[in-house]
């Protein structure tokens, strides 16, 4: 019990360190702008069918399809990831470089410290996704009506032809958007955080994580057979079999499993690596002592 309480204190300290009101404000601004683009796309679609806020949510989180090379779709899908990698992907490296000497001996072990960073990233990812979804819904509500059901526009294939006719708000939000966005965000940012520790360079790991997402988009274009193997594709609703029948075997379960394997593999490797990591940056040591 004492350990749990002590851990809760470490995580509270980590979240306090990583959280900035300014970051929250910019996150809201980013998702508000993305939401406005989504609203524009939905409102400007010529149809007599009624629309509502969930149409915007679908459009903004659907991601680029396998036959789409639209840069607009790419940007709409990629920006939330890019911003998260920028804000939080380097929390561990920053913590280690700036506070490691004070903090880690107090925590007692490198592995305990690393676990704290992992849990912190999970918490930050969760609130980032919730903030994003909530902001888009609020912005959409300024232009479109609220409803507890998906719109006739969405269900009658106005946006995407293969949308299941019995799709519910709960399925769209809790089974599609949330797990895919959250799972991919966590998997890729865990990888980024681990690389930043391995390379002791936050910028390079940020570039690596961003490149992974961009290349997932690029290599997947017009290649239905490879999309399910690409890490970034896991969060693209429109590349999944339930919305794109030409892509085989790319189910929700596949994406959840894929992200889980990445997360577990990265965790296993990082826990082995972090055990004997030098808390003081090697490069600065050499420069100082040279």
């Amino acid at each position: 019990m004492g350990n749990v309480v002590s851990y809760a204190r470490v995580i509270r300290l980590n979240v306090t360190t990583a959280f900035r009101w300014k970051s929250l404000l910019w996150t809201v601004v980013l998702f508000a702008v993305i939401g406005l683009f989504g609203v524009y796309e939905v409102v400007s679609y010529p149809t007599a069918l009624s629309k509502n806020v969930w149409d915007v949510l679908f459009v903004t989180f659907a991601g680029p399809g396998v036959f789409s090379d639209s840069l607009f779709q790419l940007v709409l899908w990629f920006l939330p990831y890019l911003f998260f990698f920028y804000l939080f992907g380097n929390i561990a490296e920053e913590d280690l470089s700036q506070r490691g000497v004070s903090l880690i001996p107090l925590i007692g072990s490198r592995r305990k410290w690393w676990l704290g960073e992992v849990v912190t990233l999970l918490i930050l990812s969760f609130f980032y996704v919730v903030t994003g979804v909530a902001t888009i819904l609020i912005v959409s509500r300024c232009f479109l009506p609220w409803s507890t059901h998906l719109s006739p526009f969405l269900l009658s294939s106005g946006i995407w032809q293969t949308i299941p006719k019995d799709l519910s708000v709960a399925t769209l939000l809790l089974r599609w958007i949330f797990p895919l966005f959250f799972g991919t965000l966590v998997a890729v940012s865990f990888l980024q955080m681990t690389l930043s520790l391995q390379w002791r360079n936050a910028f390079l790991s940020f570039i690596a994580a961003s490149a992974m997402m961009i290349l997932s988009w690029l290599f997947g274009i017009r290649h239905p057979s490879v999309v399910r193997w690409l890490p970034g594709s896991q969060s693209m609703l429109l590349r999944h079999t339930f919305l794109e029948p030409q892509v085989r075997g790319f189910s929700l379960a596949w994406s959840l499993g894929y992200n889980a394997v990445i997360i577990l593999a990265v965790l296993a490797v990082s826990f082995i690596y972090v055990r004997r990591i030098d808390i003081v940056k090697e490069i600065s040591e050499i420069h100082k002592e040279a």
Partner: protein, 223 residues
């Protein structure tokens, strides 16, 4: 009647045996061995790049030696313990959250172990000559004030060993006097202190033993 004298073997607080550290092919420390008995102030001096800071980091468990053994309070660092027990550390520039006050920073760090309360934190801040009621964020502190806060953090959880890397750098004359007085008081209380300074005169003034570090080797006097 014949007087009988007995010698009690004093267990060293810190013991290094053949410690070497090689970083990217460059030897920073080479075959360093020494012991520090309890309640002593030991100084390490040397030119920039001599290896004195690395030695402190190896003892603190922040980097592991390439060869050799570091034993602190009877436990081998890296094998029996990851970090030495009951040790306060000031190494490199102290990293505090710049948006919070000095006291709030110490309270957050102290909350991890929850061994000390507000009273002790206030006392230790006062001890290093800072104001515990100063509400300004750390970003408004001078370099000397941050250094004092770093020393306060090293002292706050009542350590029995202190590792201090250039504790008086960036301090004005008043600050240096305060730190020297604090270190002497701690020694009287039985605390062991290992500190570095490029200033050999300062170390001779405050320390019981001074080592000269040059090219990763340990000697008694500068050449």
């Amino acid at each position: 009647m014949e007087e009988v004298t007995t010698t009690v073997a004093v267990k060293p607080v810190v013991m290094l045996e053949g410690v070497s550290k090689v970083i990217r092919g460059r030897t920073i420390l080479e075959d360093v061995s020494f012991e520090i008995p309890p309640a002593q102030i030991v100084g390490l001096s040397g030119l920039n790049g001599s290896g004195k800071s690395t030695l402190l980091k190896v003892i603190g468990g922040f980097i592991y030696p390439t060869e050799g053994r570091v034993v602190v309070f009877g436990k081998e660092i890296g094998k029996e313990a990851e970090f030495p027990d009951k040790t306060g550390v000031l190494i490199e520039k102290p990293g505090f959250l710049t948006s919070m006050s000095g006291r709030k920073n110490l309270e957050l760090l102290a909350s991890i172990r929850n061994e000390i309360g507000e009273k002790e934190i206030r006392e230790v801040i006062t001890l290093v000559g800072l104001d515990p009621d100063d509400k300004r964020p750390v970003r408004a502190y001078s370099t000397g004030m941050i250094q004092r806060l770093g020393i306060a953090q090293a002292l706050m959880e009542h350590p029995e060993l202190l590792l201090l890397d250039e504790p008086t750098s960036n301090l004005d004359r008043e600050g240096i006097t305060i730190v020297h007085n604090v270190l002497r008081d701690l020694k009287k209380k039985g605390i062991t202190i290992l500190m570095t300074s490029p200033n050999m005169e300062e170390l001779r003034y405050i320390c019981d033993t001074v080592f000269w570090v040059e090219n990763g080797h340990l000697g008694k006097e500068p050449p």
